[in-house]
Every structure is written in C-alpha cells, then in structure tokens.
C-alpha cells in the first residue's frame, strides 16, 4: 500500500500525528546536561568535552570520554537485562549480588597455579582447577548467572509472588553465597588470558578522525550486546511478547502467549547479562571480592528509568537505556569535572532517579487524560 494512503477512513495520513519516539526526549536531556556541564566548566576556565591543551592534537577531551565510556560499560551491560525485566512489568533487585556471587565462583576457576614462582596463595581449589583454559571460567560464570536468573524467573512466574520480593530474596541470598564461597576472603591471581579479557582491546584503538575509540573490551562488549538486544527487542517475537506482557498481561495470555515461560526466559537473560558483567569486572580488577557489585542493581535500574523505561512496564527501549546510561555517566564525570564533593554526587544522583520517575508518572497522567 502506498505511503500516502496510510490514513484510514477518510482521515489523511499525517506524519505529524506519529507519536514522537520518547528516546528523543532522553537524547535532548543528554545534550542539555552535557551543555550545562560545558558551561559550568567554562566558568572555571576548563572544558567538559573539548580538548583545552595546546600540545595535544584532538578536538575532544579524550581522557574524559574514555573514562565515561568505561564507567558506564559494565553496569550498562547489567542495565540491558534489567531493562527487559522492567519492560515485562517486573523488577530485578538481585543483579548486583549476582555479580558478586558470580565473580567469586568464576575467579575460583580462573586462577593460575604459580604466582611469581610461588604456589597461588589465594588458591580455592587444588591443582586440578589451576590454569584452566579461559573458556572454563567464562562458561561457569555465565552458568551461575543463568541459574540465578532462572530461579528469579521461576519464582516470579510460578509462585506469583511479586518480582520485588523474589529478586530481593535472591539479592540477599546471592550476596550470602558470595561471602560463603571463600569465607569472605578475596579470590585473586587469575591466568594471563583471563586478565586480558577485560584489559585487552578487541578492536585495537580505532580512530575516527580526531575521535578515538577507548579500545577496551568492556565497552566493546557493552556496545555489541546493546545492538544485539536492541535488534531482538525491536524485530523479534521475543520483543513483541515482552512489550505485550508489560502492557496488558491478561490480554497477552488471552492471545495465546505463554506469559510464564516468557518471564522465565527474560529473567534468565538478565541473570546471564549480570554474569557477563561479573566476568568483565573480575578480569578488569584481576581479583574477586564478595562485596563486588553492591548497589549495581540500583544504578542499572536508574539508567533504565532515566532512559525512559517505565516501571509500570510496557514502555521503554534498549536505546533509551543506553542513552540513560550515557546521562548517568555524564553526570558522574560532570560532577568530578567541576570538583563537586563525592557526597553531593550521590545525593544528586538519588534526586535525578526520583525526578525521572516523577517525570514518567506525569507523562503517563497527561496521556490518560488525553
């Protein structure tokens, strides 16, 4: 059918009547916030985004961009999963703890036998678990995340308890498991291959004119996963079902969607994504601690909410979350750049999360009023 006839029943097709994608609002907010920090920096005689040093040939402040991208990458990966959970009308409070537990288990299988010629002082298992091929800890790690996600999903789908409670339970239990694993001791000294997972550079410092890619694997993985899940959520049945369940679960069930099974799948994917973050985090730090990932779940939820993902379910997108993650990162770097005290940073961060939800509620009310 021709484009001109998209209007129906005598109404002209009106491209202006097309609802503007809410991602544009988030993008606008991102630009605005960057602008504010740029102005604040200029008032202090510096620049937020741009290179001010005469001896460096670059347009942008490359160091700051690199830090911003890396800062956001690992929690951003978690946020991709959390976004999908929120879209189906759920919530996942467990991701930070799942990172902690997965980090401990994964690292135990990534240890090297000899550290500077001496036996590994932090060895968890005997020699059989030393110097394993790098794929082993990765697979074990992802399996841990999958297990946690499956338990979350099965609890939510089949016991019908609120997702808040189910994942709160997992949040506490997984943190306990992380501490129990090695009696609260850190697990350290991974193999060289494992250490190069996050510290390596898969793409090899790419340069686009005067802008260069930070060239670190967590950022590469984040971007690849974001693209993958954007495509899945937009073009496949999985995405269609997710939005349908979040919009009107009864209607989705009535239409023949197995909503319970779909929920298990979504929570499982969120668990695996938390595990990916754990693998990258331990590889980056070359150690695992039981306290890893504390508060990550809230940061991930904040990224999604700032990116326009509605806690009521059904609305939001992976693209929105990526933009939300960018805003999140700009705010943190921005505060540092204007030398604002870290305590203020956290206070303002909290206010921004609340503000984003208030804005969402307000938009929703406006919409239902017509």
């Amino acid at each position: 059918m021709a484009e001109a006839t998209h209007g129906l029943g005598g109404l002209k097709y009106d491209p202006a009547k097309r609802t503007r994608a809410p991602e544009w609002n988030v993008f606008g907010a991102l630009v605005l916030i960057v602008l504010i920090f740029e102005i604040l920096n200029r008032m202090q005689g510096g620049s937020f985004l741009f290179n001010m040093r005469d001896n460096v040939d670059a347009i942008f402040n490359q160091q700051r961009l690199d830090i911003m991208i890396l800062q956001v990458a690992i929690i951003g990966i978690i946020a991709l999963g959390v976004t999908q959970v929120i879209i189906i009308g759920g919530i996942d409070l467990s991701s930070g703890s799942v990172v902690g537990a997965t980090a401990m288990v994964t690292m135990s299988f990534a240890q090297t036998a000899l550290v500077n010629g001496n036996p590994n002082p932090k060895a968890i298992f005997g020699d059989w678990a030393m110097d394993l091929p790098v794929i082993v800890p990765i697979v074990i790690g992802l399996a841990c995340g999958l297990l946690a996600g499956l338990i979350n999903g099965l609890l939510v789908a089949y016991t019908k308890i609120p997702p808040f409670i189910a994942t709160l339970g997992m949040m506490v239990s997984a943190r306990g498991a992380a501490r129990w694993w090695s009696n609260g001791q850190p697990v350290s000294f991974p193999t060289a291959e494992y250490g190069s997972l996050a510290n390596g550079d898969l793409l090899g410092g790419m340069t686009f004119g005067l802008l260069s890619w930070p060239g670190q694997n967590p950022a590469v993985v984040f971007v690849l996963l974001a693209v993958l899940f954007h495509v899945i959520m937009t073009y496949t049945l999985y995405g269609k079902r997710s939005y349908a369940i979040g919009s009107n679960e009864a209607a989705a069930r009535m239409s023949g969607i197995n909503t319970d099974r779909h929920k298990v799948l979504v929570y499982a994917i969120a668990g695996v994504l938390a595990a990916v973050a754990a693998v990258l985090l331990t590889s980056k730090n070359l150690t695992a601690q039981a306290g890893m990932g504390v508060m990550y779940e809230l940061d991930a939820i904040a990224m999604a909410v700032i990116g326009g993902v509605s806690l009521a379910g059904g609305r939001g997108s992976i693209l929105g979350t990526v933009l939300g993650a960018a805003i999140f990162s700009v705010i943190i770097s921005g505060f540092t750049s204007i030398k604002l005290d870290a305590y203020y940073q956290e206070m303002v961060k909290g206010a921004i999360i609340v503000g984003a939800v208030v804005l969402d509620q307000w938009r929703q009310r406006k919409r239902t009023r017509g």
Partner: protein, 255 residues
Amino acid sequence: MSKVILETRGLTKHYGGVHALDDANFILHEGEHVAVVGDNGAGKSTFVRQVTAVEQRTSGDVIFDGQPVSFSGPLEARQAGIETVFQTLALADDLDVPSNLFLGRELFKFKLGPFSWLDRKTMRDRTMEALATTAVKIPNVDNPIRNMSGGQRQCVSIARTAAFASKLVIMDEPTAALGVQETAQVENIIRGLKDRGIPMILISHNLRQVFDLVDRIVVFRRGRIVASLRKDETDGNDIVSYITGVKGGTDATYA
C-alpha cells in the same frame, strides 16, 4: 434449514447457589446472525463465557461445528474458530495497531523459537487492508494504541476479530462505550461479516441496533432463555415484554 454451527443443550452454570444460567438450549445456523438480549444479570455474558470457555460450565453440552466440544480455555476456543470481542478490551496499549491485530499469531520472516524474526511489513499491509474494509478512522497505525480514543481502540479490537473470523464471531456489547459515529463503524463491520456469511452472536442492549443487524433475537431472563424470535415476526415492544417478564411467564418457578 442450513447446517447448525453452534448448539448448546441444557447449558447450565451455577456460581455457588446462584443459578446464573439454567438449561440453555440454543441453536445457531450457518451464516445466521443472532442477538442475545436481556436485562442486566439475565445470563447473557455468562452464556458467552461458557461457550468461549472463559469459565467452565456446570453441566450441559456445547456442540460446535458438528462436534461436542469442551474447550479448556478461550485460547482453545479461538483456535477452533470462535473469535470473541469481550467487554473488557484485550489489547496491549503500548503496541501499535498491527502488533495488536496480530498479537499471538504473528507472521514471521523466519522461525527461531522465541527469537523468530517478525514480518512487520506484511503484518502492517494486512492490517491496512483489514482496517480499510471496516472504514475505521485511524490517522496513523504505527502509533501505540494508548494514544487513541476509546472508539478507535474498540474498532481495532473488533477489526481484529473480523479479520481473523473463520467459523463464529461473538461480540459482547461491542458498542456500549462508543459514540454515534463509532457505533456506525462497528455496525458496518458486522454487516461485512454477514455478507461474508460468517455467523455471529451479538450481545446488545440496543434494540434499534439489534433489529438493524440480526436475523433472530434470543431473550434471556433470570438465567433462562425465554424466547427465540425471528426478526420479522416480532417488534420492539414484544421483545421488551419478554425482557421484563410481562410475557414468557417462566417466572412462576422463581416467584
């Protein structure tokens, strides 16, 4: 007489001690449009809920398309060919019109379990065709239906039913919340079904509409079928008499 598409024999539903539906014997022929009328609580919606298996009947038989059936749920009823517009809209507000029309029966470019690739273009084109025949007024089908008026949403819901209608369509008060113009659109869709020879059960309070659209009128009163009249052998006053109990007299057992 032509083939019987739906028949209920002694269909009964009790909610605890409440006899919501008692011994309903109902016949619908191929291509026939029948209205079910009655006062609030007369058992109309209960009757529909038993036929579409939203609820499980207490006793009685449902014979659909020549076979005794016992659907486990509305989904199975739909798969057998019974399309229903329920009073509560079964739409996902955050999806656009094609997604709602094809909810649960999406078309694919290729299948890969839950990650099957949607054929969005074909679904959209088919949606445009389906809506064009119904004269529903929607400026842009790519918008989420959240932003549409109640009438437009109801029209989407009914267009979905009409588009996939195969053996039987049931509409439970499809125009209850609609304005004059939107009601006319829905009635046009119903006439389209008649032209296509698809049988329909219409539940309605609007007697003008009923006389306009259907061949036969079945009156429910206090859980029982008290009359089944051809349109041309009755009139509005007659029907009202049955609805209110002036005629039909089975009340004796309840009084």
